[in-house]
């Protein structure tokens, strides 16, 4: 990194930190808040969020989205992805995201299929 220049803005420039150290603490606070929200939702499980959205509970979608938010800040600010070149960022993120999406799709789809076979087929496993 030439001259160790850090980009000090997070949330699309909504918050701009004065120094890299300050940004690190800022990101820690953000990650802690997100984790706290997850834990509180996980303990109390609000009734309104238990409805099904796209084949999964709304609460589970919230958990997954919050996890991706956390992953973003860990990668972008702790691992300094924000300061790397666009090409390096894409090499790492696009490759991973593409392959992981494929993997998740194929395995969850097949898992659901096996469930249906157990449920509606002639295999009996309740004995």
């Amino acid at each position: 990194m030439a001259g160790h220049a850090h980009k000090l803005e997070i949330l699309r420039g909504l918050i701009k930190f004065k120094s890299n150290t300050q940004k690190i603490w800022g990101v820690l606070i953000l990650l802690s808040i997100v984790t706290a929200v997850e834990v509180v939702l996980g303990i109390y499980k609000p009734e309104v969020l238990m409805g099904q959205v796209f084949g999964m509970k709304a609460l589970n979608w919230i958990f997954i989205i919050l996890t991706i938010v956390k992953a973003y800040y860990i990668t972008w600010d702790f691992m300094h992805m924000r300061d790397e070149t666009k090409a390096l960022r894409r090499v790492v993120v696009w490759t991973g995201v593409f392959l992981i999406c494929y993997l998740i799709f194929i395995l969850l789809e097949e898992g659901g299929y096996v469930f249906d076979v157990y449920k509606t087929g002639y295999i009996k496993h309740d004995f």
Binding site: E84, L88, I100, G111, F115
Partner: protein, 326 residues
């Protein structure tokens, strides 16, 4: 004489070599490549967990009922301990990134101190995970496994869990003893017997009117199905095969054995990453103290192990979500 070095005429142009389009050193880029491949490995494991869960979507254990313990406290506190572990790991990620930052400013004393704190955080995390494992292996209430491999748990009429030790009627004359190599035929042995036999549990269920059986099947509200008194007795007598206490790779009192298998495998693999991260951090810590990077006039090595350490934190964020929350 002709020159042996061929001039291609592309010197100084885009394809003439010597370019660094990614502006990253070799070591750092290789660390990123390793992280991508390791991320795919972990995704494979977590997706396989998802496969098994979707396969048994109507009977998977509820994590909130499995991980409810805190060291030194009795009672049920779901999520609290694992939230603490998550916070410890994020905190050690913060001290690591502070060490990297201090390295950029060539402040040796600060790097040393932050590396030290990172190592302590990593050790606390690994220790917590060991405790979590021990609690999970030891188990809590006990359950009965049926011939088909399903788990039957026990609850009172209000739906609170009841431990087998609290209602089983112990038979003082039981003769079944553990088969060991020194007792029977020298080449046969078996693992430790459960504390109670199925007969003792049946007797206990017969004599305690307020105890009911809870199966693994999730009802409309996402709760486990509780059977009536008559159904409970019938099911236990017809299908009860073995008393299960705690969890291992074969049986799991909390539900599907696959849940325990994936828990041990994924958190174990992650814990091993944390452990190796701690070892690498210790090596770098001593290098910092010895002034290796001070002489090199560059602390990039701290940055590279930092990348690995943050990656371990990143993986934990996903393990936390998919094992404890979703």
């Amino acid at each position: 004489m002709d020159q042996t070095v061929v001039s291609t005429g592309t010197e100084g142009k885009t394809w003439g070599g010597g370019n660094k389009p990614l502006k990253a050193s070799y070591g750092k880029m290789m660390m990123w490549f390793f992280i991508v491949s390791d991320a795919l490995t972990f995704s494979g494991f977590l997706a396989a967990y998802g496969f098994s869960r979707f396969k048994f979507i109507d009977s998977w254990p509820i994590a909130d009922e499995v991980f409810t313990h805190i060291p030194f406290f009795h009672g049920s506190y779901p999520m609290i301990y694992v939230a603490f572990m998550t916070f410890i790991l994020i905190m050690s990620s913060v001290t690591m990134v502070l060490a990297v930052d201090a390295g950029h400013q060539m402040k040796k004393a600060k790097v040393t101190w932050y590396m030290f704190l990172t190592i302590i955080g990593g050790l606390i995390f690994v220790g917590s995970q060991a405790w979590e494992w021990a609690t999970f292996i030891k188990g809590d209430y006990g359950a009965v496994q049926t011939t088909g491999g399903n788990i039957l748990q026990f609850v009172d009429t209000e739906g609170h869990r009841v431990a087998i030790r609290d209602f089983a009627v112990i038979d003082d004359h039981k003769e079944r003893v553990q088969d060991e190599r020194k007792k029977g035929i020298w080449f046969t042995s078996e693992t430790a017997l459960p504390t109670y036999t199925v007969e003792e549990v049946i007797k206990g269920l017969e004599t305690h009117d307020n105890v009911l059986i809870r199966t693994q099947i999730l009802n409309e509200e996402g709760e486990k199905t509780v059977l009536s008194r008559g159904e409970s007795l019938k099911l236990l007598k017809d299908n009860g095969k073995m008393v299960v206490e705690g969890a291992n790779l074969y049986v799991n009192e909390y539900g599907s054995p696959l849940f325990a298998d994936f828990f041990f495998f994924i958190t174990g693999f992650h814990g091993f990453h944390v452990f190796s991260g701690v070892v690498i951090n210790i090596i770098i810590f001593f290098n910092v103290i010895l002034g290796t990077y001070e002489r090199r006039k560059n602390y990039e090595m701290v940055e590279k192990v930092g990348l690995y350490w943050h990656f371990v934190d990143l993986v934990w964020v996903f393990v936390f979500t998919f094992f404890y929350l979703v």
